[in-house]
Amino acid sequence: MITVRLPLAAAGLVAGAIGAYGPLAQAADHDFSAHAVVHLLLGMAAPLLLCLAAPVTFLLRTLPRPVARRLGRLLTLAPMRVLTEPVVAAALNVGGLWLLYTSGLFAAMHSNSALHALVHLHMIMAGYLFTVSIISADPLPHRRPYPYRAAVLVAAVAAHDILAKVIYAHPPVGSDPTQVKSGAMIMYYGGDALSVIVMIILCARWSRDARRIPLSGLGQARTS
């Protein structure tokens, strides 16, 4: 598995780096379309690639035993349980986006570089938590049933698409309305494309686990 996971991890880090540094990140400061691409890279693409790379499994296997054991215990703590709960992770992820684009935060972010970095950090971390809560390749403190995860995913994708249309109709303060329209469409269709990949992975695992269970029991498959 390491042969697949290493390139995935590298790709995830590259996606994150392109979103955070370099010409695209600079263009994002004044161009809303570039901003939308950055947002897809940081909030969705990088977290998805990193999540599939299963970094926790890698650490647990390669760290010295006592450290690995301590890490394992850390993952079962209450805060981790709460953060990897799909509804909580979805709220942090999409809720954060709603807050960003429907309040003065978007304008404030562009005049304060510390806030800017914080928003990006939140985006990538919340994106990662959400992806993990839906399709983790790593061990989780508790794994929710497939129908529940599917429902949360659908609700989160809907909230993301609704926000894209809200942005289209009501450009955030401090942005150029014509740029915002193309940016909102990038967010809508790009978000859909990445969400469909997550749906495919979720359904592939669901059907894999359900293979030995009678068809009527598809909904009862619990493990991943």
């Binding site: 994708v157 809907a158 698409d161 609704i162 749906m199 598809l218």
Partner: protein
């Protein structure tokens, strides 16, 4: 049986994409988003379901086609009557006389329902399976 249910979910969705235009109401926006997201998920899940049935050799294409036509027709009829007319969520075209469009829309829906039901009834009476 399962193939029937499968199609109720899956093919219907190709039609749910007729759902959106730039609706101005908040309710329209939210329902669009939900249908759009659920539409994507149902397409993905429906295809996996279809693949699972095929690998078990439990798939009857006749029931699949019948279920698909029935579901698509039923949704189109619902869309054409309740959503277009009763709720006035959206129209097929704007700034023209809408009546011929509405009539055609609902007649096609009725034809799809009839053919779908016909195929399902024939499949139920037995005869060679097309799997």
């Amino acid at each position: 049986m399962a193939a029937f249910v499968d199609e109720t979910v899956f093919h219907q969705l190709l039609h749910w994409h007729h759902f959106y235009d730039k609706s101005t109401t908040d309710v329209g926006l939210v329902s669009d988003g939900l249908f759009h997201a659920f539409g994507w998920f149902a397409v993905v899940a429906g295809l996996f379901w279809l693949a699972a049935l095929r690998s078990r050799r439990a798939l009857d294409w006749r029931r699949w086609a019948g279920g698909a036509l029935l579901a698509a027709g039923a949704f189109q009829l619902y869309d054409g009557t309740v959503q277009h007319k009763l709720m006035r969520l959206h129209q097929i075209r704007y700034d023209v006389d809408i009546t011929p469009y509405d009539v055609t829309w609902n007649i096609i829906a009725a034809i799809m329902i009839a053919i779908g039901l016909g195929i399902l009834l024939i499949a139920r009476r037995g005869g060679p399976r097309l799997s």
